[in-house]
Subunit: 338 residues, 2 copies
């Protein structure tokens, strides 16, 4: 099937292609009468604007990319939604990419977004990523790079992240205030700044409240239900006494909860639980799980604003912004001892 172009319209009406183009772009310098005729014929021919050609000509692409680990994790889908709500009305197309926490996918997506000439790339980096060369390619091409939630430590980028340290501190402090003294931590991948900060927040709270740090209570654990099960079982089988777990993600704490239930251990009386991210299931589980709300709406809004500020600026020297927003501890049954 042959594509309908402005030439087809111009031939039918004996009007030049430029006028057709102007009319379809609703240019004020075209007579209303001719405009109407043109639009009428366009409709009849089932014409639609070829953005590819227009992009090539204008150099304006009106496309941005968003790269996240998983689109169905509550924080990411919420952030995508907000960015969409802000940019779509301005005519932007949003390319959503998933890495599934694999650096190879991240590299591929960056490459693909660059060849697609996007105007901005929003990224929440993979847990795996330690080399940042692919990100540097973006900035050195002069394309704004904006990190959200998880950032890479490189120059010339903007970022919106959570105060993970303080949020983790508050979570741990809360457990301490409930009377917990043997608080285990599911230590996340330390490649990731967020997990380093959450770990540090945990340590600092213990220190401030003069609770000794016991290495036995700190166990490496990835963000998945299975890993949470494994981690808890390791503690359990090693006969390590504990009265609370602070996990830097909700999936692992859910896994732990499943096992705790299997062993008929009481939550929160015997073991109190705190997670991180406010995944939907934390609210609807038998014993709702205390968790940290990361305010994804605010994060997404700020990220989108950063892009708009940069792109609307006439000057070439871009100012990069780094914003840290505060998390909110949602205290639920899993940690309320009193």
């Amino acid at each position: 099937m042959k594509r309908v172009t402005i030439y087809d319209i111009s031939e039918i009406l004996n009007i030049s292609p430029s006028t057709v183009s102007r009319a379809l772009n609703d240019s004020p310098s075209v007579k209303t009468k001719t405009k109407e005729k043109i639009i009428e014929v366009a409709k009849q021919l089932n014409y639609f604007h070829n953005k590819t050609a227009s992009r090539l000509k204008t150099g304006k692409n009106n496309t941005v990319g968003i790269i996240v680990p998983y689109i169905n994790h509550s924080i990411f889908s919420a952030i995508i939604q907000v960015i969409e709500e802000i940019l779509a009305p301005l005519g932007y197309i949003i390319l959503i990419c998933q890495t599934y926490e694999k650096t190879v996918n991240e590299i591929k997506h960056i490459q693909s977004l660059l060849t697609n000439q996007v105007e901005c790339i929003f990224v929440s980096v993979t847990m795996e990523t330690i080399n940042y060369d692919h990100f540097k390619k973006v900035t050195s091409a002069g394309i704004p790079l904006i990190f959200f939630d998880r950032k890479a430590d490189i120059e010339n980028v903007s970022s919106v992240i959570l105060n993970d340290f303080k949020s983790a501190y508050k979570a741990t402090e809360h457990l301490i205030e409930q009377g917990c003294k043997r608080i285990a931590h599911f230590k996340g991948n330390q490649n990731l700044e967020i997990y380093r900060n959450r770990y540090d927040g945990y340590l600092k709270a213990l220190k401030d409240y003069k609770i000794p740090v016991d290495p036995d209570l700190i166990i490496s654990c990835k963000s998945s239900i299975e890993e949470g099960k494994r981690a808890f079982n390791e503690l359990y089988n090693a006969n390590i006494s504990l009265d609370a777990i602070f996990s830097p993600n909700d999936h692992a704490i859910l896994g732990a909860y499943q096992e705790i239930k299997n062993y008929n251990i009481k939550v929160p009386e015997e073991i109190a639980l705190v997670g991180f991210s406010n995944e939907i299931f934390t609210k609807y589980i038998e014993i709702p799980i205390t968790t940290v709300f990361q305010n994804p709406e605010l994060m997404g809004t700020k990220a989108a604003k950063f892009f708009l500020e940069q792109t609307n600026k006439e000057t070439t020297d871009i100012t990069h912004k780094n914003e840290i927003i505060e998390g909110t501890l949602l205290v639920r049954a899993s940690s309320k001892k009193r």
Copy 2:
């Protein structure tokens, strides 16, 4: 910042742009030596391929669009993932669009995908949609339109949907086998074929088992937690006796469950519950909820295959396929009376 083009490379090396183009496309008709030189310079200049230009020239866009109500609903995120896994390795870019169940968004996205010259559009239609003109635009432009899970009843399209009737029948039958006789139904929006079919499956099972249909037990209810709460409360406040609820979606049954718990009614002893879609929370809730698994992986695979078959075919006359796949009832505690 000026864009680097193949002309920049060609000037530096005193080689024609066509050779540069060929080299970058790894054409076998370029000497390895020149190829290496070209790639080297391209890297130095931080050149990246301009897909916009290439698309315009070749007419090959390598882009498909997927339109879903919500990206974070389990069935949709799973389907997106599969389609991605199949098409990305073949070089396709996937434009993911969310309608949030609004027809206006659906229309906008279709329009946008058409102007973006996508090669195929995969759609799961909105609950609201009753007019199909925007879909007809797609087919009349000669672009393959493939429905999954929820389809619109128009010509020249392919589709992969669930056997909703049979799945609902099995769900209801299961409740009957558990001894339930007063089975309520949260009747979904009847615009949508899936909800009509699930309703019909419910009715047919009652009929086959000679259980009278009581209109009092059938209550209209949208797919949300709040709506589920409202629906249950209406039944409860009207003093309508019931021993089971079959909801054609998981969100409403979760809402109902919350209220049931508030009233201290026992699940499944006093009221048995069955939902639909296998949302993640149905598994991890206090009393895991029986639900229908829709096999999204299979759905996505079939949909992607349909597209590939159509697009690889030389002939212009396209054969449209309509496939119905079977659901699986996942029996869990919420309905096991014996």
